[in-house]
Symmetry: C2
Subunit: 358 residues, 2 copies
Amino acid sequence: MPTIRDVAEKAGVGLGTVSRVLNDSPLVSESTRQRVLQAISDLNYMPSLTARRLSLGKTMTIAVIVPFFTRPSVTERMRGIENTLVTCDYDLTIYNVETVKRRDECMQHMIRRERADGVIIISLSPRDEDLPLLVNSEIPVVLVDANHDSLSGLSRVIVDDVAGGYTATRHLLELGHERIGFISDYLETPFNFTSSRERFQGYQQAINEQGIAFREDYFGQGPHGRQAAYKNAARIMALPDPPSAIFAASDTQAMGVLQAARDAGLSVPDDLSVIGYDDLEIAEYLGLTTIRQLLYLSGQRGAELLMDAIQDPPKEPQCEVLPTELVVRGTTAHLSGSQLLDQPTYNPNNQMANNLPG
Amino acid sequence: MPTIRDVAEKAGVGLGTVSRVLNDSPLVSESTRQRVLQAISDLNYMPSLTARRLSLGKTMTIAVIVPFFTRPSVTERMRGIENTLVTCDYDLTIYNVETVKRRDECMQHMIRRERADGVIIISLSPRDEDLPLLVNSEIPVVLVDANHDSLSGLSRVIVDDVAGGYTATRHLLELGHERIGFISDYLETPFNFTSSRERFQGYQQAINEQGIAFREDYFGQGPHGRQAAYKNAARIMALPDPPSAIFAASDTQAMGVLQAARDAGLSVPDDLSVIGYDDLEIAEYLGLTTIRQLLYLSGQRGAELLMDAIQDPPKEPQCEVLPTELVVRGTTAHLSGSQLLDQPTYNPNNQMANNLPG
DNA sequence: ATAATAACTGGAACCGTTTCCATTTTTAAC
DNA sequence: GTTAAAAATGGAAACGGTTCCAGTTATTAT
């Protein structure tokens, strides 16, 4: 492998000059530049990235710490990051987190040292004990989709999941539903995901506002994924007075709910309304009513925030809130007569209840 | 940031000794080791990865070049790679390819220089002109899911997609179908994906063997994804003598076909049998009959092959062929009477044709 | 006690860049 | 034709590790 010295020798110049040519310095005469370029191409020389990194003290790399990076919502965010980074000539290295142990390793090691010039953490809220580490980190850190009061010291791109959860529930309420189930992953996990918790908060807020009490038995949490959602939905549907609508905290989980409804012989949306969250590509296919969040954009903005912070670190952490949007498709419908239970609901103003067929 | 010299000074030892402690060399007395470890922890020292890389001439990084890394089949392969690499303490950097230009950039630059100690290329077949570059590359290259005669000089993990396509088609034939459509992405793309082409080959082989001629109008290609498959399927279903079964070259495309069937008022599998390819997680949910390929394993084996090659380069390129498996679910069924056309098919031995209702 | 050997240890040299300072060359001004 | 200023150039030092060789200390055998 030829080095910069070989090039210098071949071109008959000093190695400082070669370096200047490589870095487009104006302090090189045109004739010398040509001579050097010729030598570079003759020798098929390419500068060593590693040496460059050591000398510059920059890694030209961004680290992304991401839980379960096969989840569609996660990959879509990552795509936003990747596409943004490419334009800046930064490399992207990925630390996939599937266990708590690994999460802690990543938080401790990736961030501390010059493995990267900046870090993006997706969906993982750091523990309180890790916070000082991140806040005082020598390299900028940007959080994407991790919301938490105590996180105010860190730049981040978030979605107002409380509002999203509220909107979803509001949509069901406006369709006349009063018995509304909620299915999500575990609200408290060692990974400290915040989104389900917030959506749940929005859900509670909306029903409370309507004077509807939260029913424990309409609530199901479990591991992320279709299967757990299926089980929870099946259990809830088997209640003597099952809900007429279910809000699933993600589209993936909504799919589990749809499957459970199908297997229970319920037709959606006639017997059961279902709303999801995320608006994954698949949601359109399923005709799933859902809350759209701007996944790609969240990655893009996160990367942009990070690049800005690398250029010159802001004194104040930046916080960007991305909007959500209700996307009405085919899995939600107005409460129908057949969905009403024999016993009147406690709400005396319920118009529909008076139209009971049976 | 403390350096190794600071540690040496603090511990009152030479810097060679510190390095030996860091690298678990046995040539350090226990007492010295303790003293150094104490100094390391006092100073909160962490060695610089970059310096280490320069000195060792290794990057401790693996590059993955991957087209459209949000596709579920791709992320699943990557997960296999990631999980394997973690155990070896290698970093993983990702080059996402969504344009031909970028593909060429990646092939030229990522591979040539010590950006990485090894490269895994997923699903992209290099052009003939790039081949010598890869074969003579100073770092090992492993191809995953890229099959091509001319690729014999490179180590790779492949799936026998011809066999997979054959099996899928065979399954439909055995159910009595004779009018079988085939829907895939473009067989020829600038990215030079090979899988659709091979599946198509298997399809042709199976129908030919059965004495069935290939019908151009039963064949639809287009951009990857649900939408294009939907359009092609809709066109094919609208033919005066539409197929009774469709083989989609991927589960994603099978979803487009299912959607088209639904919109055309056809019920699956009664009016139309559909088989996909990949066995994505979603396939189970949809009850889609499909060909399972071992996506995760392909990544894992690719990474393992690469790690082996880094340890000591094999003289012969390794080629590993992963099996496929037919997974029968609910979208394929025996040809039913109602699916037969009025005009008899050209096959005189067709028993079913004699039972035509109308 | 002494020599031979083994176990440790210190630090110079090296990896391949960039940067900065000193020096040389060119240009412009009078 | 001088001189001052500007432009171009060469190369040492630095980045922070690892490695290897030479030197020191400890151990063992006689």
